[in-house]
Symmetry: C2
Subunit: 381 residues, 2 copies
């Protein structure tokens, strides 16, 4: 067994194993092989590793102090395959992002500011996105006692305020890749009015009215049977082509762009009811990267989001999203001439120590069955 230093943290509504970049260097193995071995993949249950058998619990956060003077920590996200022996390095996870600043303080990479708040500048290398994170550090000590609730997490957690700096166009070059706030998009099941927005992540936004529901429809209560999910995925794939993310609908990635159905909020204080889809299934709350896109869509006249929520406070302001798990509030600020958009998440360190990798990858493929061993053992005994 090879012992690899590892820390298990909850970030928002995800559970993420955190590694120092150098600790994943194992002679004779790629980083992908190391992660798949540690997580017990491929296996639907990940029973022989530290992965949790679901997309929100098979995530890795890989960190190192940054060489860039304007950045404290380089952060690379990996979505570790469950059934498949594949590691996806193509996107960031907003929830896992929430553990980075605290880990940097725990590791001594960033000194807590005795003024009461510590700022950690994080570069997500997957998306070339700077995320500025603020932690409460009264008296120069990290205050990681639970004090804040977020939807999807029981009880309270320690807060981190995360701002995505200048998030527009990171995947396509511009906030509105088609050049229009709303498009009539031809999809297999019909033509739909959608807004296609690239900020935090590329998102196709469709209003409940475009799906034949009344304007006051709560999007959490719409039919999400197999046929509707197929219709929505058809819209998403047509959007991928329109945004220049894929050459054909069939070639669109499963995770990019995301799709959001918007409608009337029902929770008190909510401004926008949302139901997002993640990897083809309804998301239990909201991906934080998707909430960034919806916030900038709300601030852009003519999108299906701004049509619904109306004028927002100037010069900047966030959005109260009514998700299936409850209200998530984003913020939008100006820092000089760039937008900073984000939300408060919570985090918690769950466990810390080492994770074990089996010593010899050649031993991993099954070659014989326990029955034979038992027979031998019984005969020898």
């Amino acid at each position: 067994m090879i012992a690899i230093p590892a820390t298990w943290m909850r970030g928002g509504t995800s559970k993420c194993w955190v590694f120092r970049r150098d600790d994943l260097d194992v002679p004779g193995r790629t980083v992908d092989e190391v992660l798949l071995g540690l997580y017990g993949s491929p296996d639907a249950r990940q029973v022989d590793g530290v992965g949790g058998g679901t997309s929100t619990t098979s995530k890795a956060v890989i960190l190192s102090p940054s060489d860039r003077p304007d950045i404290d920590v380089d952060y690379t996200f990996a979505q570790v395959g469950i059934d498949e022996a594949v590691v996806d390095w193509g996107s960031n996870c907003g929830n896992c992002s929430a553990v980075v600043a605290a880990f940097a303080v725990y590791s001594g990479w960033v000194e807590p500011d005795p003024s009461g708040e510590t700022t950690v500048r994080v570069l997500n290398t997957n998306t070339d996105q700077v995320i500025v994170q603020h932690l409460p550090t009264p008296g120069g000590r990290l205050l990681d006692t639970p004090s804040v609730a977020i939807p999807g997490v029981p009880g309270l957690g320690a807060p981190v305020r995360m701002g995505f700096v200048d998030p527009a166009g990171r995947s396509t070059g511009t906030l509105l890749p088609t050049g229009r706030a709303t498009d009539e998009l031809a999809a297999p099941a019909g033509t739909y009015a959608v807004s296609m927005v690239d900020a935090g992540a590329p998102v196709v936004v469709v209003d409940v009215t475009a799906l034949g529901y009344p304007a006051d429809q709560d999007p959490h209560s719409i039919d999400l049977g197999a046929q509707t999910l197929a219709t929505l995925d058809g819209i998403r794939r047509a959007g991928a082509v329109a945004m220049g993310l894929a050459p054909s609908p069939e070639a669109a990635a499963r995770a990019v762009p995301k799709l959001a159905v918007v409608g009337a909020p029902t929770a008190e204080g909510g401004q926008l009811g949302i139901q997002m889809l993640s990897m083809g299934t309804p998301h239990p709350a909201v991906p934080i990267t998707g909430s960034v896109a919806l916030t900038l869509a709300a601030r852009t006249p003519g999108t299906v989001v701004s049509d619904r929520v109306g004028a927002l406070p100037e010069p900047a302001g966030g959005l109260r999203l009514d998700t299936p798990a409850g209200l998530v509030e984003t913020f939008a600020e100006r820092d000089g001439d760039v937008d900073v958009v984000g939300a408060v998440r919570t985090y918690r360190r769950l466990a810390e120590g080492v994770a074990y990798l089996s010593a010899d990858p050649a031993d991993t493929p099954p070659s014989h069955h326990v029955t034979d061993d038992v027979d031998t053992e019984a005969r020898d005994a």
Copy 2:
């Protein structure tokens, strides 16, 4: 945060956190509160703790060196509630049992025997069951490199051979609590020929023919829709009463007795096809405690199991069970005048270090919502 030493191990097809008994002593909290806090319960996802959100990944193994001269390690099993803030101490887990001997060697409680095999005598305190475990220790070193495959775990694992000593009647006092090898049991949906056997765990065994299938029916392929599951649970609850485990069908525990449907094997070398139910749903393989009961049922003339498998080799021998995940082979031996029944399982240490408990349980109930904090923060900024 309170740091509690903890080791995460796979035992058979379960994932179990292992604690030294004294490490769970936290001033002002019960052990139940400590476990629920560490595991993130109650919460369907256990997102804020080390639990995995499924019954096979929300298990704790609590160990200490034994005071008894004939026992090396005292082992207490806890099934930590997921949705409910309840810890169940009423049964053992055969799969988690597989980690005990290796942990005792890692901890220095048992010296590896240089003769090549080390024997660790384990007392499960939940069931007052002695389990003798054998580990390969060539040259006095624990050989924990992967070499053995078991159904339900991809690849190979390190083997441990586990024997349940004198397992009959641990719950009811006798192997056949009704005094008969087969009973005609009246259940809500009809009367069924069943064998009720108490060894390892109490199990109600019903043959596929009693459910209206032909004798050559593979039990993995029977209908297991909601109506059949209700019929089988009715048989199980009637069995609970007949075995003296519950005063009425309604009062029967969800987990005790277990129920096994037996039929024709399909896998090469299989002697008995089995489909067990666990907490009302089909089990993916077999609980090891249940396999002990089936093995002694096979050796008892007149049970529905021995009627099917015929005479077994004397003086003792195991059973090759064809489970949904593949073949599991048990062994049955005599040690002096007692039966020792068990199987080979594999184990792996997944991670080791500390698990963190939130400092103040009074902080745990949600008292306010992130929205308020963001508002305040945005106003102050």
